[in-house]
């Protein structure tokens, strides 16, 4: 071929030390660029600059959050269950009987605002590949979604697209969607949060890691061809060299192909079964740059790559663009030379393109060539692990004290509690989310035991993978977050998010085991946001320690703000639990008539950040509900032990909207009413307070004594409220609402807005 005069080789970089490079356009600071020059002893080539700029980005390097996130390690509780912790593609937890679960939640917020359908779809695709790369079969997904006000115009643009993207991608993959959240708040207008969670299953002894050991082993790129998708900054490099405007106009949101991903899942599982994979890494953010540097850094230390062998969808791509492309549905594996033929045969069976693009070396260098010319020669660890670390300044927001002083105690209380309940039940945050969830396949693969609107998704393990037939176990998963609580007190807000997810897992009868989190915040360069972040991380780490559930991994999403206005700090917490006998899972809500309705936990007047204050008064102020993690833990023990003993016929956590909403939802579950009396002297507080560590359960009359004894043994307050049955929700002396009216109110809201 003709000599490529524009190719920026290592030799050329050494010869032209003063050439101006577009590091700023790639998001690098001057001192970061200087540090690269110091590492290399010369200026980087444009390809090297591409690698460092993406690997040292906030998204890949966690440079602003790292110093805080360390607490998840230093404060981690002792846990025998943790097999793989933070730092890998996803954490892995021992769920017993030789099996392990791997799970992680990740944000795709910004792409989902720009292009809701593809942004959300590729969010699902990315997290599923993280789970695959641990050696697991992905078995379910969940989504925690937050949008602007339901009545705001842009929400009507963003929400349907996001839901359709998740629906299309997840349904085509054949993964049941078993839960999640849909929350509306004007603070998310312009900054929707799309947090996707995936859980996978694998044999405990077959965990795969992102490592490239063994000089001479082959590096295989397989999956979709590489195209110009998601190249944010690389076009700057390309056009800086070529001044070709067409290349600068490429889309920066990736486009997903779930059909390819489905084949990739089945192909990977067959590769694992054939035991022909030494190390594996998915290609997500930063594509080939990330996969090669991380694999090499964690392996024997070196790798030679022929970048011109990367199969392209667009043959005009330059090396810088190939390095930064975020084309979806790609994986990179390290394979022993003797296994290459078997590896390729399995890929061919599934019609998956696979190409050997390089080899593991012991040189300690990541070397890349382009048609014979060396264009990258770096120590891979410097890009993968030794990025900049910032101790960003932080301080309490200026208005924080005033916000906390604005107590909801002075808000006028409703005279008509019946109307107040219906108003809340029909409000967008508490209304039925069926408009969204009916677009997701919750049944595929046939292991879904509980799915939305249950408090947590529950999956059977025995038929999820061959060889698991003997286990009776199941896993439960829930995600929760409350931006209003966190705005009032990020430390407590993060703890309340964990407490609620923990409780949602426990109400199904599962024992909470481990945590994943997605930390959604504004700009880390704003000291007030950074204070929210540091407080939330500190709160979450402390609470994980007290509750005995380690953080296994997660994701940080910064820069969720419009102008200088950040979103509410929104830590979203996912909790995974295990139930020994999945047949003993407890359903949400009332499941039979003539059963005793029992309230667990204490109620006090707590309305700061409450749904009632939000809906009735548009008020946000005061302090969030008090956190009592010991009470939470005790409640969890009661719920799981009672489930194991078969004492519970139904259960439901109390959270947004308090007892009133919990009762209404329990009635709606199967259309069974109830007649209850309140225990306190203030019906409004009893019904609408959002005190934490509470749950509503039902027990058969003959089991009540045994159940009350169990509660007493764990010092969990237990109040018999009444009995299930009838066609109405009756709170004696306070309100009487037919279940049919509850249903009409509950299900009408979202279809009225979104069609």
């Amino acid at each position: 071929m003709n000599p490529d005069v524009n190719l920026d080789t290592v030799k050329r970089a050494a010869d032209t030390p003063d050439e101006r490079q577009p590091y700023a356009e790639l998001g690098m600071k001057r001192d970061e660029y200087d540090r690269v020059k110091e590492i290399l002893g010369r200026r980087p080539t444009s390809s090297e600059l591409a690698i460092y700029s993406v690997m040292w980005s906030e998204h890949c390097s966690y440079k602003s959050s790292k110093v805080h996130l360390r607490q998840f390690g230093t404060k981690a509780p002792q846990s025998d269950a943790l097999l793989v912790g933070m730092g890998e593609n996803a954490g892995v937890v021992d769920i017993g009987d030789g099996w392990a679960a791997t799970f992680k939640i990740e944000s795709h917020n910004h792409p989902s605002y720009v292009e809701p359908h593809q942004g959300a779809a590729t969010g699902v695709g990315g997290i599923v590949r993280d789970i695959m790369s641990m050696g697991a079969r992905p078995i379910a997904v969940m989504d925690a979604l937050r949008f602007g006000g339901a009545d705001q115009a842009d929400t009507r643009r963003v929400l349907p697209g996001v839901v359709e993207g998740i629906s299309h991608y997840g349904n085509c993959l054949g993964l049941p969607n078993i839960g999640g959240e849909v929350v509306f708040d004007p603070c998310y207008i312009g900054n929707p949060l799309v947090n996707a969670l995936c859980v996978g299953l694998l044999r405990k002894d077959q965990i795969k890691l992102a490592i490239a050991p063994g000089a001479g082993n082959k590096v295989v790129l397989f999956g979709a061809l590489t195209g110009p998708d998601g190249i944010g900054g690389a076009s700057v490099l390309a056009s800086a060299t070529f001044e070709d405007e067409s290349q600068a106009k490429r889309p920066s949101v990736q486009v997903g192909d779930p059909f390819m991903e489905k084949l990739l899942i089945e192909c990977c599982l067959e590769l694992y079964q054939a035991d022909v994979v030494v190390g594996i890494q998915d290609l997500g953010a930063a594509g080939v740059s990330c996969a090669t540097t991380e694999l090499a850094a964690k392996g024997t230390g070196g790798m030679d790559v022929r970048l011109d062998l990367v199969p392209l969808r667009d043959p005009s791509l330059r090396p810088e663009e190939i390095l930064m492309s975020e084309s979806q549905e790609r994986m990179m594996a390290v394979v022993a030379p003797d296994d290459i033929d078997a590896f390729m045969a399995i890929c061919a069976k599934w019609d998956i393109p696979a190409t050997v693009i390089g080899e593991v070396t012991d040189s300690g260098r990541l070397v890349m060539t382009w048609h014979g010319e060396t264009i990258v020669d770096i120590p891979p660890g410097t890009a993968a692990d030794e990025g900049p670390v910032y101790e960003r300044p932080f301080h309490e927001p200026a208005g924080q004290a005033a916000l906390n002083a604005s107590s909801p105690a002075d808000l006028p209380r409703p005279e008509d509690l019946r109307a107040a309940l219906l108003q809340l039940l029909g409000s967008p945050n508490l209304a039925s989310k069926e408009w969204v969830t009916s677009q997701y396949d919750r049944y595929v693969r046939g292991n879904t035991v509980l799915a939305q609107p249950a408090d947590a998704g529950v999956l059977r393990i025995s038929e999820a993978m061959p060889g698991a037939e003997e286990t009776t176990r199941g896993i439960a998963l829930a995600t929760d977050g409350n931006g209003r609580y966190a705005r009032l007190d990020p430390y407590a807000g993060a703890q309340l998010a964990l407490a609620e997810a923990y409780r949602n897992v426990a109400v199904t009868g599962a024992v909470p085991l481990a945590v994943t989190n997605c930390l959604n915040f504004g700009s880390p360069e704003d000291p007030e946001v950074m204070w929210q972040f540091s407080e939330a991380v500190r709160g979450l780490a402390d609470a994980c320690k007290t509750l005995g559930v380690p953080v296994t991994g997660g994701n940080v999403s910064f820069y969720n703000q419009t102008g200088s206005t950040p979103i509410h700090p929104t830590p979203v917490v996912g909790v995974l639990g295990v139930i020994e006998d999945v047949a003993k899972r407890v359903r949400s809500g009332f499941t039979g008539t003539g059963e005793k309705v029992v309230l667990l936990g204490e109620t006090s007047a707590e309305f700061g950040g409450s749904e009632w204050a939000h809906v009735a008064h548009g008020h946000l102020g005061g302090l969030p509900p008090e956190v009592d993690l010991e009470a939470e833990r005790a409640l969890g023990r009661v719920l799981t032990e009672a489930a194991a003993q078969g004492l519970l016929t139904g259960s439901h956590d109390l959270s947004d909207g308090g007892l009133a909403i919990a009762l209404a939802e329990a009635c709606l579950a199967q259309g069974i009413g109830c007649t209850v009396s309140l225990t306190g002297d203030d019906a409004f507080v009893d019904l609408f307070s959002e005190s934490a560590s509470r749950a509503l359960v039902t027990v058969r009359p003959e089991s009540f004594e045994a159940f009350a004894e169990l509660c007493a043994a764990h010092e969990v307050p237990c109040y018999g409220l009444g009995t299930t049955g009838g066609a109405s929700l009756v709170v004696e002396g306070v309100l009487d609402i037919p279940v049919a009216e509850l249903r009409e109110t509950h299900t009408g809201t979202l279809p009225a807005i979104f069609g």
Binding site: E164, S167, H168, N171, C172, L173, G174, D257, P258, F259, M260, K262, L263, W350, D351, T437, S438, Q439, Y440, D441, R442, Y443, V444, R445, G446, N447, T448, V449, R460, E463, V582, A583
Partner: protein
């Protein structure tokens, strides 16, 4: 006597094959995996075409699958009387292969719909529905984006008159199907296609809050044992 053997076909992008095989096993049959690229029916006594997004649903749902090597064997066998059940994408494939009349179009509401759906059994004269009673009301999940059954007026009149409508939606049509049609059969009755998913309604613990799907599998197994 060995168990009746029901083939379960996997195309690239098939999703409910594991569920279909489980439902066959639960009813006492042997589920035999059939691979799209392998033109071999392996001597099975009946075939189940499960749901999914075969070949990514590119072009049209089922349009590419009908040309799979396996289908070259399956189409003549089905015409010769081999019992075949297609659910969801399987139904779409049967229509594309002209083993069943009509076509499945995008849902009237333009959204994918997953819900537990009321269904009335209209015809029990097929090897897949003999354990139901005519007029029986059952619940099965539907989950599809392209399930609106359409046919030209003459075809529609013919299948209605010929008793070829096997299932009809009750309590609300999820996709705008003509005449609330949820499933149909061929004239001979050995081939049945429907959008709902019997394989997701066979167990108490998992899937839909119904076990009405079991009768599909008990029907076919009785038929196979008795012939």
């Amino acid at each position: 006597m060995s168990a009746a053997r029901v083939g379960v076909v996997t195309f690239p992008g098939t999703l409910d094959d594991q569920d279909a095989a489980r439902a066959v096993r639960h009813a006492g049959g042997e589920a035999v995996p059939l691979w799209h690229a392998d033109p071999d029916l392996k001597g099975v006594d009946a075939v189940f075409l499960p749901g999914g997004f075969s070949y990514g649903d590119y072009l049209r749902c089922g349009a590419i699958s009908r040309f799979a090597p396996l289908m070259e064997e399956l189409i003549p066998a089905a015409r010769a009387g081999l019992p075949v059940l297609g659910t969801c994408n399987g139904f779409q494939i049967l229509c594309e292969a002209h083993l069943l009349p009509g076509a499945l179009m995008r849902n009237a509401g333009l959204h994918y719909v997953c819900r537990d759906q009321g269904i009335r059994v209209e015809n029990t004269a097929t090897p897949w529905t003999s354990d139901f009673t005519e007029g029986q009301e059952i619940v099965l999940p539907v989950k599809h984006g392209e399930g609106r059954y359409v046919a030209d007026p003459a075809t529609l009149a013919a299948i209605e008159a010929g008793g070829q409508v096997v299932f009809r939606y009750t309590g609300g049509n999820p996709n705008g199907s003509l005449n609330d049609i949820a499933g149909i059969r061929n004239e001979a009755g050995n081939i049945v296609g429907l959008m709902p998913h019997p394989e997701h309604a066979v167990e108490d613990l998992t899937g839909a809050p119904s076990t009405d799907g079991r009768a599909f599998f008990t029907s076919i197994l009785k038929k196979l044992v008795n012939t």
